[in-house]
Symmetry: C2
Subunit: 242 residues, 2 copies
DNA sequence: CGGATTCTTGACTACGGTCAACGGAAGTGG
DNA sequence: CCACTTCCGTTGACCGTAGTCAAGAATCCG
């Protein structure tokens, strides 16, 4: 009935362990259906207690939150395979919003079934916790970047991270991947102003480290880009950026 | 045999649901023992795959990570009831370090039992996921603070957040709570320099909003402090800081 | 009584923010 | 088909918040 969810971590049999036939059956029940959204569509809103959770099957999006003064912070970029709505599932309310940046296909789950799902299939529950831990890990790195690195380092770091993520997901072809975000998105993700982000990016482009236009990111030399932080300081780094 | 873990989220019966007798029995088995550490003691190291996980029973600590260039980022402060080592449990490796800042009592669990624990007691597994989601939520807020707020706002926000946390844990008496961290800790948590943190704090002190010395934090007017961000900008904030 | 650690304060500097203007691309409507 | 608008990227000029450097005070400790 439902199509197979190639990138859905909750449906992939090879993620950690194989699913039993019974588990697969339950997954099908837990899954409500699939949803397709266009660029710009809000998927989950900050503060909402939506009845549904998602998994990104294809396409990209953004997680962000808005401060009281209207400033926006982009928390992370959403890639295929990402679980969307953990906070709704366990806390009952989202702490941030999620919005599509490209055409996206989503695997839809029923929030009310979340707990049952967790209870009757601990191994899948464990997978979700795994995803949460990975997310926490990434957020920690991002925090360190925003807090400690300067603009050039931060942007180089972000591009490397994103590119590696893309590689792991098989989205990179010929050192090129789709990157459908705006410079403002990147600026808000790194706590920089749009103008400064633009100028810093221009410098990286002039150095032939990357090119990025019309939603396509091309990285010429990943290692060189990863080392950008090094050359900007005289103190040699203890550990490589990647 | 083992003493009761008053603050341990994995032992508290009132956290979400009551534990069955059988569950309690398992918890005792899962629990290895208790550990006491002195201020400055590293509990888990970044990159380590320690064989044990912890829950803070009393005392406070710090989660931090060190960049390649030696800069440090404090990710969060550890309070009683916090679970320490989720990343070791699920990912097999810590992405940050945890260090005691006061005398601490820890509830010790066996990492090798983690998965079994998860499988045989889904409700407790769910609790852990809940803790992870809360952590993610906090990290998101912190990210937004570091990325978007200026020094005064960030420090006021941090103090309010910490104080509220303390209140929720019953650590606040007479508008006063223990806060055994250094200004450098706070600076590294907010991505600010020590000097600037000191001067900004001095300004908040002069405004009679808070006092903090010798490990004791006193907040005179929580609401006023929470509004500090507002007065610094002419644009009125849409939502209160708390 | 040194030595170490933390806190404090002043002087100087620079990274990055703000303001402003322009260009190109894409969409809209008369 | 062409004004008009909107969104995004680009660049220059200026300025301010926060970083760096430096030195002194306070506390703790061996």
């Amino acid at each position: 009935m439902t199509t197979k969810c190639v990138n859905c971590p909750l449906h992939r049999k090879d993620l950690f362990k194989t699913m039993t036939r019974e588990e697969l059956g339950y997954m099908q029940k837990f899954k409500v259906g699939e949803l397709t959204v266009e660029p710009g569509t809000p998927i989950l809103m900050e503060g909402s207690s939506a009845p549904q959770l998602y998994t990104a099957l294809s396409g990209m999006g953004i997680r962000d939150m808005t401060l009281e003064n209207g400033d926006r912070q982009v928390l992370s970029f959403v890639f295929p395979g990402d679980f969307i709505g953990l906070q709704v599932g366990v806390l009952g309310e989202m702490g941030h919003s999620v919005e599509a940046r490209t055409h996206m296909r989503l695997c839809v789950f029923d929030r009310s079934e979340f707990w049952n799902f967790f209870r009757s299939h601990p191994s899948r529950g464990f997978d979700i916790t795994w995803l949460a831990a990975v997310e926490e890990h990434f957020l920690g790195e991002t925090l360190a970047t925003i807090g400690q690195r300067n603009a050039t380092e931060a942007i180089a770091w972000a591009m490397v991270r994103i590119f590696l993520r893309g590689q792991a997901l098989g989205l990179v072809n010929n050192q090129t991947m789709e990157f459908p975000f705006t410079q403002k998105d990147l600026a808000d993700a790194l706590g920089l102003s749009l103008v400064h982000t633009n100028k810093t990016l221009a410098r990286l482009k002039k150095k032939q480290l990357l090119s990025w236009s019309e939603g396509v990111l091309h990285i010429f030399d990943l290692d060189a880009l990863a080392k950008v932080g090094v050359t900007s300081t005289d103190t040699p780094r203890k550990r490589p950026l990647m």
